[in-house]
Amino acid sequence: MSETPAITTRDLAKTYKDVRALDGVSLNLAPNRIYGLLGRNGAGKTTLMSILTGQNFADRGTAEIFGHTPFEHDPTLARLCFIRESQKYPDDFKVRQAFSAAAIFFENWNEQLAQDLVKAFNLPLNRRIKKLSRGQLSAVGVIIGMASRAEITFFDEPYLGLDAVARQIFYDRLVEDFAQHPRTIVLSSHLIDEVANLLEHVIVIDQGRIIIDSEAEDLQGAAVTVTGSAQKVEEFIAGYPVIHRDALGSLASISIRARLTAEQRARAQILGLELSPVSLQQLVVRSTLSSQSDREQTTERQAIK
Protein backbone atom coordinates (compact mmCIF):
# COMPACT_ATOMS: atom_id res chain seq x y z
CA MET A 1 0.00 0.00 0.00
CA SER A 2 1.51 3.31 -1.05
CA GLU A 3 -1.14 5.56 0.55
CA THR A 4 -0.30 7.35 3.80
CA PRO A 5 -1.35 5.21 6.75
CA ALA A 6 -4.10 6.73 8.88
CA ILE A 7 -2.23 5.81 12.05
CA THR A 8 1.36 4.73 12.60
CA THR A 9 3.02 4.05 15.92
CA ARG A 10 6.57 2.93 16.58
CA ASP A 11 7.61 1.37 19.86
CA LEU A 12 5.14 3.42 21.88
CA ALA A 13 5.55 3.14 25.65
CA LYS A 14 3.82 4.75 28.60
CA THR A 15 4.18 4.06 32.30
CA TYR A 16 1.95 5.32 35.11
CA LYS A 17 3.93 5.07 38.35
CA ASP A 18 4.67 1.33 38.41
CA VAL A 19 2.12 0.26 35.78
CA ARG A 20 3.27 -0.27 32.22
CA ALA A 21 0.21 0.88 30.29
CA LEU A 22 1.92 0.57 26.90
CA ASP A 23 5.01 -1.48 26.28
CA GLY A 24 6.50 -1.15 22.81
CA VAL A 25 3.40 -0.77 20.66
CA SER A 26 4.06 -0.62 16.91
CA LEU A 27 1.04 -0.48 14.61
CA ASN A 28 0.02 0.56 11.12
CA LEU A 29 -3.63 1.35 10.40
CA ALA A 30 -4.72 1.92 6.82
CA PRO A 31 -7.37 4.53 6.02
CA ASN A 32 -11.05 3.75 5.45
CA ARG A 33 -11.25 0.52 7.37
CA ILE A 34 -12.94 -0.62 10.57
CA TYR A 35 -10.48 -1.77 13.22
CA GLY A 36 -11.31 -3.56 16.44
CA LEU A 37 -9.11 -2.68 19.41
CA LEU A 38 -9.77 -5.46 21.90
CA GLY A 39 -8.42 -6.38 25.27
CA ARG A 40 -9.23 -6.56 28.95
CA ASN A 41 -9.83 -3.60 31.21
CA GLY A 42 -6.53 -1.94 31.94
CA ALA A 43 -4.86 -3.57 28.92
CA GLY A 44 -3.85 -0.16 27.53
CA LYS A 45 -6.61 0.52 24.99
CA THR A 46 -7.69 3.89 26.35
CA THR A 47 -4.08 5.02 26.91
CA LEU A 48 -3.27 4.18 23.30
CA MET A 49 -6.30 6.07 21.98
CA SER A 50 -5.56 9.08 24.22
CA ILE A 51 -2.03 9.30 22.84
CA LEU A 52 -3.26 8.93 19.27
CA THR A 53 -5.71 11.80 19.78
CA GLY A 54 -3.14 14.08 21.41
CA GLN A 55 -4.80 13.96 24.83
CA ASN A 56 -1.86 12.21 26.45
CA PHE A 57 1.77 11.70 25.53
CA ALA A 58 4.07 8.73 25.42
CA ASP A 59 7.25 8.23 27.43
CA ARG A 60 8.93 6.70 24.43
CA GLY A 61 8.26 6.01 20.75
CA THR A 62 6.31 7.90 18.11
CA ALA A 63 2.68 8.19 17.05
CA GLU A 64 1.62 9.73 13.77
CA ILE A 65 -1.81 10.52 12.35
CA PHE A 66 -1.69 10.92 8.55
CA GLY A 67 2.03 11.52 8.95
CA HIS A 68 1.74 14.18 11.70
CA THR A 69 2.26 14.06 15.43
CA PRO A 70 -1.20 14.69 16.90
CA PHE A 71 -0.04 16.41 20.09
CA GLU A 72 -0.80 20.15 19.86
CA HIS A 73 -1.27 20.00 16.11
CA ASP A 74 -4.71 21.51 15.45
CA PRO A 75 -5.08 20.61 11.76
CA THR A 76 -4.55 16.94 12.67
CA LEU A 77 -6.82 17.05 15.72
CA ALA A 78 -9.62 18.47 13.57
CA ARG A 79 -9.58 15.23 11.56
CA LEU A 80 -10.13 13.08 14.65
CA CYS A 81 -13.07 12.25 16.85
CA PHE A 82 -12.59 10.37 20.12
CA ILE A 83 -15.65 9.19 22.03
CA ARG A 84 -14.67 8.00 25.47
CA GLU A 85 -16.48 5.53 27.65
CA SER A 86 -17.09 8.27 30.19
CA GLN A 87 -17.27 11.21 27.81
CA LYS A 88 -17.67 14.48 29.74
CA TYR A 89 -19.86 17.36 28.62
CA PRO A 90 -20.48 20.66 30.39
CA ASP A 91 -23.14 19.76 32.97
CA ASP A 92 -25.43 22.68 32.22
CA PHE A 93 -25.55 21.86 28.52
CA LYS A 94 -28.74 20.57 27.07
CA VAL A 95 -28.43 17.65 24.63
CA ARG A 96 -29.21 20.08 21.79
CA GLN A 97 -26.28 22.30 22.81
CA ALA A 98 -23.85 19.39 22.91
CA PHE A 99 -24.75 18.65 19.29
CA SER A 100 -24.48 22.35 18.27
CA ALA A 101 -21.00 22.49 19.78
CA ALA A 102 -20.00 19.31 17.95
CA ALA A 103 -21.41 20.71 14.70
CA ILE A 104 -19.09 23.72 15.00
CA PHE A 105 -16.03 21.66 15.86
CA PHE A 106 -16.28 18.87 13.28
CA GLU A 107 -16.10 20.17 9.74
CA ASN A 108 -17.68 17.03 8.21
CA TRP A 109 -20.60 17.15 10.67
CA ASN A 110 -23.81 15.84 9.13
CA GLU A 111 -26.86 17.36 10.75
CA GLN A 112 -29.31 15.08 8.93
CA LEU A 113 -27.54 11.98 10.24
CA ALA A 114 -27.47 13.45 13.75
CA GLN A 115 -31.21 14.09 13.63
CA ASP A 116 -31.95 10.61 12.29
CA LEU A 117 -29.92 9.08 15.11
CA VAL A 118 -31.61 11.25 17.74
CA LYS A 119 -34.91 9.79 16.55
CA ALA A 120 -33.53 6.25 16.40
CA PHE A 121 -32.24 6.47 19.98
CA ASN A 122 -35.30 8.40 21.12
CA LEU A 123 -33.12 11.04 22.78
CA PRO A 124 -34.75 14.07 24.52
CA LEU A 125 -33.02 17.07 22.92
CA ASN A 126 -34.05 19.61 25.54
CA ARG A 127 -33.00 17.65 28.57
CA ARG A 128 -29.88 18.72 30.45
CA ILE A 129 -26.91 16.40 30.04
CA LYS A 130 -26.63 15.80 33.78
CA LYS A 131 -30.25 14.59 33.88
CA LEU A 132 -29.66 11.88 31.28
CA SER A 133 -29.58 8.18 32.07
CA ARG A 134 -26.32 6.31 31.54
CA GLY A 135 -27.64 4.84 28.29
CA GLN A 136 -28.85 8.20 26.99
CA LEU A 137 -25.44 9.69 27.76
CA SER A 138 -23.81 6.91 25.74
CA ALA A 139 -26.26 7.62 22.91
CA VAL A 140 -25.10 11.26 22.85
CA GLY A 141 -21.52 10.02 22.39
CA VAL A 142 -22.45 7.52 19.71
CA ILE A 143 -24.39 10.19 17.78
CA ILE A 144 -21.52 12.70 17.96
CA GLY A 145 -19.05 10.02 16.94
CA MET A 146 -21.08 9.02 13.90
CA ALA A 147 -22.40 12.41 12.77
CA SER A 148 -18.91 13.96 13.01
CA ARG A 149 -17.89 11.76 10.08
CA ALA A 150 -14.33 12.49 11.14
CA GLU A 151 -11.59 10.91 9.04
CA ILE A 152 -10.61 8.82 12.05
CA THR A 153 -13.18 8.05 14.74
CA PHE A 154 -12.29 6.29 17.97
CA PHE A 155 -15.09 4.66 19.93
CA ASP A 156 -13.87 3.60 23.35
CA GLU A 157 -16.48 1.21 24.81
CA PRO A 158 -19.20 3.58 23.64
CA TYR A 159 -22.14 1.43 24.71
CA LEU A 160 -22.23 1.62 28.52
CA GLY A 161 -25.86 1.50 29.62
CA LEU A 162 -27.14 0.94 26.09
CA ASP A 163 -29.43 -2.07 25.92
CA ALA A 164 -29.13 -4.78 23.27
CA VAL A 165 -31.64 -3.05 20.98
CA ALA A 166 -29.87 0.30 21.16
CA ARG A 167 -26.51 -1.36 20.53
CA GLN A 168 -27.94 -3.07 17.46
CA ILE A 169 -29.16 0.32 16.20
CA PHE A 170 -25.61 1.61 16.66
CA TYR A 171 -24.02 -1.30 14.73
CA ASP A 172 -26.61 -1.18 11.94
CA ARG A 173 -26.28 2.56 11.47
CA LEU A 174 -22.51 2.31 11.58
CA VAL A 175 -22.43 -0.27 8.77
CA GLU A 176 -24.92 1.74 6.74
CA ASP A 177 -23.12 5.06 7.12
CA PHE A 178 -19.67 3.54 6.69
CA ALA A 179 -20.79 1.99 3.39
CA GLN A 180 -21.77 5.43 2.06
CA HIS A 181 -18.95 7.36 3.72
CA PRO A 182 -15.91 5.19 4.30
CA ARG A 183 -13.52 6.40 6.98
CA THR A 184 -11.20 4.94 9.55
CA ILE A 185 -12.99 3.63 12.60
CA VAL A 186 -11.31 2.23 15.68
CA LEU A 187 -13.81 0.40 17.82
CA SER A 188 -12.79 -0.67 21.27
CA SER A 189 -15.14 -3.18 22.83
CA HIS A 190 -15.57 -5.95 25.34
CA LEU A 191 -18.60 -7.27 23.52
CA ILE A 192 -16.45 -8.95 20.92
CA ASP A 193 -19.05 -11.32 19.48
CA GLU A 194 -21.39 -8.40 18.85
CA VAL A 195 -18.89 -6.44 16.77
CA ALA A 196 -16.86 -9.31 15.28
CA ASN A 197 -18.59 -9.24 11.90
CA LEU A 198 -18.08 -5.49 11.47
CA LEU A 199 -14.32 -5.62 11.84
CA GLU A 200 -11.87 -5.86 8.96
CA HIS A 201 -8.84 -5.98 11.18
CA VAL A 202 -8.38 -7.03 14.78
CA ILE A 203 -5.80 -5.71 17.24
CA VAL A 204 -5.65 -7.31 20.66
CA ILE A 205 -3.68 -5.61 23.38
CA ASP A 206 -2.75 -7.24 26.65
CA GLN A 207 -0.74 -5.67 29.46
CA GLY A 208 0.42 -2.94 27.13
CA ARG A 209 1.59 -5.28 24.38
CA ILE A 210 0.06 -6.18 21.04
CA ILE A 211 -0.64 -9.90 21.06
CA ILE A 212 -2.82 -10.11 17.92
CA ASP A 213 -2.62 -7.83 14.88
CA SER A 214 -4.45 -9.69 12.10
CA GLU A 215 -6.98 -9.38 9.35
CA ALA A 216 -10.36 -10.52 10.69
CA GLU A 217 -10.63 -13.11 7.93
CA ASP A 218 -7.36 -14.69 9.03
CA LEU A 219 -8.87 -15.24 12.47
CA GLN A 220 -12.27 -16.50 11.32
CA GLY A 221 -12.23 -20.26 11.22
CA ALA A 222 -8.53 -20.23 12.11
CA ALA A 223 -9.07 -22.28 15.24
CA VAL A 224 -11.15 -25.31 16.03
CA THR A 225 -12.10 -27.14 19.20
CA VAL A 226 -11.74 -30.92 19.05
CA THR A 227 -13.76 -32.89 21.58
CA GLY A 228 -13.82 -36.61 22.24
CA SER A 229 -11.94 -39.38 23.97
CA ALA A 230 -8.70 -37.92 25.32
CA GLN A 231 -6.42 -40.39 23.59
CA LYS A 232 -8.01 -39.86 20.17
CA VAL A 233 -8.11 -36.09 20.59
CA GLU A 234 -4.38 -36.07 21.40
CA GLU A 235 -3.71 -38.26 18.38
CA PHE A 236 -5.68 -35.92 16.12
CA ILE A 237 -4.18 -32.63 17.33
CA ALA A 238 -0.56 -33.78 17.34
CA GLY A 239 1.61 -31.14 15.71
CA TYR A 240 -0.87 -28.26 15.91
CA PRO A 241 -0.41 -25.26 18.21
CA VAL A 242 -2.72 -25.68 21.19
CA ILE A 243 -4.69 -22.67 22.40
CA HIS A 244 -6.60 -24.26 25.22
CA ARG A 245 -7.16 -27.60 26.94
CA ASP A 246 -10.10 -28.86 28.95
CA ALA A 247 -10.45 -32.33 30.35
CA LEU A 248 -13.31 -34.18 31.98
CA GLY A 249 -12.46 -37.73 33.01
CA SER A 250 -11.47 -39.59 29.87
CA LEU A 251 -12.86 -36.77 27.68
CA ALA A 252 -10.76 -33.97 26.31
CA SER A 253 -11.69 -30.74 24.59
CA ILE A 254 -8.70 -29.08 22.99
CA SER A 255 -8.67 -25.92 20.88
CA ILE A 256 -6.00 -25.75 18.22
CA ARG A 257 -4.96 -23.22 15.65
CA ALA A 258 -5.72 -24.98 12.38
CA ARG A 259 -7.78 -24.73 9.24
CA LEU A 260 -8.92 -28.27 8.63
CA THR A 261 -9.40 -29.67 5.17
CA ALA A 262 -12.42 -31.79 4.22
CA GLU A 263 -10.24 -34.92 4.56
CA GLN A 264 -9.17 -33.93 8.07
CA ARG A 265 -12.79 -33.31 9.02
CA ALA A 266 -13.75 -36.70 7.67
CA ARG A 267 -10.91 -38.25 9.64
CA ALA A 268 -12.14 -36.58 12.82
CA GLN A 269 -15.53 -38.09 12.20
CA ILE A 270 -14.03 -41.54 11.70
CA LEU A 271 -12.24 -41.13 15.04
CA GLY A 272 -15.57 -40.15 16.62
CA LEU A 273 -14.40 -36.60 17.39
CA GLU A 274 -16.57 -33.54 17.42
CA LEU A 275 -15.33 -30.32 15.81
CA SER A 276 -16.65 -26.90 16.71
CA PRO A 277 -15.52 -23.47 15.50
CA VAL A 278 -13.81 -21.06 17.91
CA SER A 279 -15.40 -17.61 17.85
CA LEU A 280 -13.33 -14.43 17.77
CA GLN A 281 -14.32 -13.77 21.37
CA GLN A 282 -13.12 -17.21 22.50
CA LEU A 283 -9.93 -16.79 20.48
CA VAL A 284 -9.19 -13.42 22.10
CA VAL A 285 -9.97 -14.72 25.59
CA ARG A 286 -7.77 -17.79 25.09
CA SER A 287 -4.91 -15.80 23.56
CA THR A 288 -5.05 -13.26 26.38
CA LEU A 289 -5.02 -15.97 29.03
CA SER A 290 -2.18 -17.88 27.41
CA SER A 291 -0.10 -14.72 26.93
CA GLN A 292 -0.56 -13.99 30.63
CA SER A 293 0.42 -17.47 31.76
CA ASP A 294 3.46 -17.37 29.43
CA ARG A 295 4.51 -14.16 31.07
CA GLU A 296 4.00 -15.54 34.57
CA GLN A 297 6.13 -18.54 33.68
CA THR A 298 8.83 -16.25 32.30
CA THR A 299 8.73 -14.21 35.49
CA GLU A 300 8.98 -17.37 37.57
CA ARG A 301 11.93 -18.57 35.56
CA GLN A 302 13.65 -15.21 35.94
CA ALA A 303 12.96 -15.33 39.66
CA ILE A 304 14.55 -18.76 39.86
CA LYS A 305 17.66 -17.51 38.08
Partner: protein, 119 residues
Protein backbone atom coordinates in the same frame (compact mmCIF):
# COMPACT_ATOMS: atom_id res chain seq x y z
CA UNK B 1 -26.59 -17.11 8.37
CA UNK B 2 -23.02 -16.07 9.15
CA UNK B 3 -21.13 -18.22 11.68
CA UNK B 4 -17.58 -18.59 13.00
CA UNK B 5 -16.59 -21.61 10.94
CA UNK B 6 -14.73 -19.77 8.17
CA UNK B 7 -13.95 -16.26 6.88
CA UNK B 8 -17.11 -14.22 6.29
CA UNK B 9 -16.22 -13.34 2.70
CA UNK B 10 -16.18 -17.06 1.89
CA UNK B 11 -19.57 -17.50 3.50
CA UNK B 12 -20.95 -14.66 1.39
CA UNK B 13 -19.58 -16.30 -1.79
CA UNK B 14 -21.16 -19.59 -0.78
CA UNK B 15 -24.53 -18.01 -0.02
CA UNK B 16 -24.59 -16.49 -3.50
CA UNK B 17 -23.40 -19.76 -5.05
CA UNK B 18 -26.21 -21.63 -3.31
CA UNK B 19 -28.76 -19.17 -4.66
CA UNK B 20 -27.34 -19.60 -8.15
CA UNK B 21 -27.48 -23.40 -7.93
CA UNK B 22 -31.00 -23.43 -6.50
CA UNK B 23 -32.23 -21.02 -9.16
CA UNK B 24 -33.14 -18.29 -6.68
CA UNK B 25 -30.68 -16.17 -8.65
CA UNK B 26 -31.15 -17.24 -12.31
CA UNK B 27 -28.71 -16.43 -15.12
CA UNK B 28 -28.67 -12.72 -16.00
CA UNK B 29 -30.47 -11.77 -12.79
CA UNK B 30 -29.11 -8.97 -10.64
CA UNK B 31 -27.29 -9.82 -7.42
CA UNK B 32 -27.89 -7.59 -4.36
CA UNK B 33 -25.28 -4.86 -3.94
CA UNK B 34 -22.35 -4.94 -1.56
CA UNK B 35 -24.08 -2.49 0.75
CA UNK B 36 -27.30 -4.50 0.72
CA UNK B 37 -25.39 -7.60 1.75
CA UNK B 38 -23.54 -5.63 4.43
CA UNK B 39 -26.74 -4.22 5.91
CA UNK B 40 -28.62 -7.52 5.74
CA UNK B 41 -25.96 -9.70 7.32
CA UNK B 42 -24.56 -6.89 9.50
CA UNK B 43 -21.08 -7.28 8.17
CA UNK B 44 -18.39 -4.93 6.96
CA UNK B 45 -19.11 -3.72 3.38
CA UNK B 46 -15.50 -4.43 2.38
CA UNK B 47 -15.98 -8.05 3.45
CA UNK B 48 -19.16 -8.35 1.40
CA UNK B 49 -17.35 -6.84 -1.59
CA UNK B 50 -14.57 -9.39 -1.26
CA UNK B 51 -17.08 -12.25 -1.29
CA UNK B 52 -18.75 -10.89 -4.42
CA UNK B 53 -15.47 -10.12 -6.21
CA UNK B 54 -14.33 -13.67 -5.70
CA UNK B 55 -17.28 -14.83 -7.82
CA UNK B 56 -16.49 -12.20 -10.45
CA UNK B 57 -12.93 -13.56 -10.69
CA UNK B 58 -14.32 -17.05 -11.17
CA UNK B 59 -16.56 -15.79 -13.97
CA UNK B 60 -19.78 -16.61 -12.13
CA UNK B 61 -20.84 -12.98 -11.83
CA UNK B 62 -20.12 -10.04 -14.09
CA UNK B 63 -20.29 -6.32 -13.59
CA UNK B 64 -22.45 -3.93 -15.60
CA UNK B 65 -20.90 -0.52 -15.14
CA UNK B 66 -23.02 1.76 -13.01
CA UNK B 67 -25.83 -0.80 -12.69
CA UNK B 68 -24.53 -3.67 -10.59
CA UNK B 69 -23.59 -7.33 -10.54
CA UNK B 70 -25.31 -10.03 -12.58
CA UNK B 71 -25.23 -13.82 -12.76
CA UNK B 72 -23.20 -14.94 -15.78
CA UNK B 73 -24.51 -17.30 -18.46
CA UNK B 74 -23.52 -20.87 -17.59
CA UNK B 75 -22.86 -20.09 -13.92
CA UNK B 76 -25.30 -22.71 -12.53
CA UNK B 77 -23.81 -25.49 -14.67
CA UNK B 78 -20.27 -24.48 -13.76
CA UNK B 79 -21.09 -24.48 -10.06
CA UNK B 80 -22.89 -27.81 -10.21
CA UNK B 81 -19.90 -29.54 -11.78
CA UNK B 82 -17.44 -28.14 -9.24
CA UNK B 83 -19.76 -29.00 -6.35
CA UNK B 84 -20.01 -32.56 -7.69
CA UNK B 85 -16.26 -32.94 -7.44
CA UNK B 86 -16.41 -32.07 -3.76
CA UNK B 87 -19.50 -34.11 -3.04
CA UNK B 88 -17.73 -37.36 -2.16
CA UNK B 89 -15.27 -35.74 0.25
CA UNK B 90 -17.80 -33.48 1.85
CA UNK B 91 -20.76 -35.82 2.18
CA UNK B 92 -20.07 -39.45 1.26
CA UNK B 93 -16.92 -39.92 3.39
CA UNK B 94 -18.55 -38.71 6.63
CA UNK B 95 -21.68 -40.69 5.82
CA UNK B 96 -19.82 -43.99 5.38
CA UNK B 97 -17.66 -43.24 8.44
CA UNK B 98 -20.70 -42.72 10.63
CA UNK B 99 -22.34 -45.84 9.16
CA UNK B 100 -19.24 -47.92 9.91
CA UNK B 101 -19.22 -46.59 13.49
CA UNK B 102 -22.81 -47.71 13.97
CA UNK B 103 -22.20 -51.07 12.31
CA UNK B 104 -24.47 -50.34 9.36
CA UNK B 105 -23.60 -52.60 6.44
CA UNK B 106 -23.11 -51.15 2.96
CA UNK B 107 -26.24 -52.88 1.59
CA UNK B 108 -28.28 -51.53 4.45
CA UNK B 109 -26.86 -48.02 3.86
CA UNK B 110 -27.72 -48.13 0.17
CA UNK B 111 -31.24 -49.28 1.03
CA UNK B 112 -31.59 -46.40 3.47
CA UNK B 113 -30.47 -43.87 0.85
CA UNK B 114 -32.93 -45.31 -1.65
CA UNK B 115 -35.85 -45.23 0.74
CA UNK B 116 -35.00 -41.66 1.86
CA UNK B 117 -34.88 -40.29 -1.67
CA UNK B 118 -38.04 -42.21 -2.60
CA UNK B 119 -39.87 -40.75 0.42
Amino acid sequence: MIDDSKPIFMQISELIENDIISGTLPEESQVPSTNEFAAFYRINPATAAKGINRLVEEGLLYKKRGIGMFVAQGAPAKLRSSRREHFAKQFVTPLTAEAAKLGIEMDELIAMIKSTSAG
